[in-house]
Point group: C2
Chain length 401, copies 2
């Protein structure tokens, strides 16, 4: 059994903020399983590694024997865009929410322990709120304080409309903490304000205020912008092992340390030790990065698949002598054609051939390799969100699809 | 049957504002009974003439065959002060609300026609609102627009807290108009903002926006401040006929015209005619004021009682030669004693005797008259909210209790 100090060190790893450490220390000292809540949208989940930072922190609480509540915010999400102005956010049906919850289960239990996870839906208590209950809840908080939230403050200042219902969401989220008697609420840094409202509302309902722990946004593969689908700099947790592995190997040596911290269970001491070895030249960064990639891929697939992915990576990329610094270019849009890529066009567009006809000649001559395999065909399967590592003789390009 | 123009003239009499006249004209032209709503607090009603300005306007709609809805706002009133900070506003029980509703019935049906009045409680539809319904309702209006309301704007500017639930009340009131499909909503000028929210929300729910008609605040007997219980310048509608009559006779000749307009059904033309007669010296203002007092007293008692009150007034006051300008002074607090007034002390305090012993001597000598009756006792019944007209020889005082 870990001491309170050891538990605290493990739980604090990688957090953006912890409010307040003393309170968490006191509750850990009580020795009982804490009730740890984190809320999720009921929209179709397709998680990437950025989402797993929060899930992993939930897991850390589970590792120490605490009770984790995976809360699906269907009470509000089901409403869609109530102004009716945003047609792209239609209300969700019960079935749709159930389907998404099932997808969540499949994805999040790759990290969370299903035995120690309680899945809840906030419609259970929000739907039971009467007009009177709503009035009582809303009486607990002032307009001015809600308008202090960064995004509200900005919109209010700029005269961008804020509908009254938007003020109700943070209060409803806070009420979730009351309904669940949460000891701790976890969320991204962008949730900090809402999580703090939870503290206030719990006090008003006679409960001790929850401890608020926020996890940082994960940088994407580029190391600059946050990981996101739309920026294409992400690793989806359902991607095939090889693809995941190759993407992870593309990050910078510097970003690697951040990923060690946020995407593995290694302690800060272990990570510091690794880093020291690299800095003293005792280990090659590439080797340590492969260890990271293996660890992450194993979480979402298996140790064996991770091993195979590492071997494949070695075979395709290292044997092919991929240059350490490989230029990544975006896929030119006009090379897509019916679920496939026109390789000849692509080579010409990214400068690996002088023209389309030159490209055709090179392909036919067997001079073109994609992801370590000779490419003899003018077409190649189109798989969005992946990278193609293309080699033509001594020239290389990484193409982001 | 009156023409639309004639109806409009009758309904517009004494209004502070009408939004919009064209729309009211159009709906009157439809020839159907309009649904006319006015909302009232469920707190214990003890109405004074100030309240009857609104009730009378409701009656005017009834006079023209329209359907009047007397809405008791129990849905919100039942909650009391939800912050729990104001102990003087405890939540009301169902029984208490029912009792108050009964008192309302007894009082308002002195003006309204019970056959043409529908009494409703907004808890009927507010209690049926789900969390989802509330979100949808609140999505219809922006925070910024609610904060434009004068009192909110002031508090927001000054940093005085506004609880979120206070924003919900105008929306709930607006939703009442939706639930009742109101054509017209009546209210005091202080309600203007809320009534206008009703217009917007009705549009959002696919209904034509209600016409908003506000009635002015009635000046109290002093002609300066608004009529109010706490200022003591009021006439309660359950006061005895004689007292009501005497109080009404105490108003200024100028204020009398305002009372004619707001407290009787006389048309503006009739009132103008009366005024012209007074101005040409064809009628004495005192005579016209007695006609006004008789008309008002008859509304709350009967024509016969009004007649008797007029006679009593003549007997007590006119025969006693009460001076036209009579000084009114407040009751000195230390003359109250166990439901009675110490007349000797009172005379000394208000300058009608040189000392308490001088007062005792005068009372015993039969030189003191109160409200036209000789006062031979050192004690007099204490009746808060009334006036005592006291005469000692040629000296007079009116004392407000």
């Amino acid at each position: 059994v870990l001491s309170v100090d050891e538990q605290l060190r493990y739980l604090k790893k990688g957090l953006a903020e912890l409010i307040r450490e003393e309170e968490l220390r006191e509750r850990l000292a009580e020795g009982r399983p804490l009730r740890v809540k984190a809320g999720f949208d009921p929209t179709a989940p397709d998680l990437h590694l950025g989402h797993t930072v929060l899930l992993r922190k939930m897991k850390h609480f589970q590792d120490l024997g605490h009770h984790v509540i995976f809360l699906i915010g269907d009470g509000t999400g089901r409403i869609g865009d109530p102004t009716g102005r945003n047609a792209t956010r239609p209300p969700m049906s019960r079935e749709e929410i159930e389907r998404n919850a099932e997808t969540y289960r499949q994805q999040v239990f790759k990290i969370l322990d299903p035995q120690k996870t309680e899945i809840r839906f906030n419609s259970q208590w929000l739907d039971a709120l009467s007009f009177e209950d709503m009035i009582r809840l809303c009486a607990r908080y002032t307009v001015a304080r809600l308008l202090e939230r960064d995004d509200f403050a900005k919109r209010f200042r700029e005269g961008t409309p804020i509908s009254v219902h938007e003020l109700l969401y943070p209060l409803a989220q806070a009420y979730d903490s009351v309904a669940l008697r949460a000891d701790v609420e976890l969320g991204g840094t962008d949730q900090k304000f809402n999580l703090l409202v939870g503290r206030e509302i719990q006090k008003d309902y006679g409960q001790p205020p929850q401890i608020v722990a926020t996890t940082p946004l994960l940088e994407g593969l580029d190391g600059v912008q946050k990981m996101s689908k739309s920026l294409g700099n992400y690793v989806g947790i359902t991607e095939p092992a090889e693809q995941m592995f190759a993407k992870l190997m593309s990050i910078s040596d510097e970003l690697m340390w951040r990923y060690w911290e946020l995407l593995t269970d290694r302690s800060l001491e272990e990570i510091q030790a690794l880093r020291a070895q690299v800095e003293r030249g005792e280990r090659h960064p590439m080797e340590v990065k492969m260890e990271l990639a293996r660890a992450i891929v194993a979480d979402f697939h298996s140790r064996e698949e991770a091993e195979r992915a590492a071997e494949e990576f070695n075979r395709v990329v290292r044997r092919g002598e991929v240059p350490a610094e490989l230029e990544t270019v975006a896929l030119p849009p006009d090379v897509r054609a019916g679920g496939e890529l026109r390789v000849d066009k692509l080579l010409a567009r990214v400068g690996l051939a002088e023209s389309v006809s030159d490209a055709v000649r090179k392909i036919k001559a067997g001079a073109v390799e994609i992801n370590g395999e000779r490419c003899a065909d003018l077409r190649y399967p189109d798989s969005a969100g992946t990278y193609l590592i293309i080699r033509v003789g001594r020239k290389w390009k990484r193409v982001a699809c």
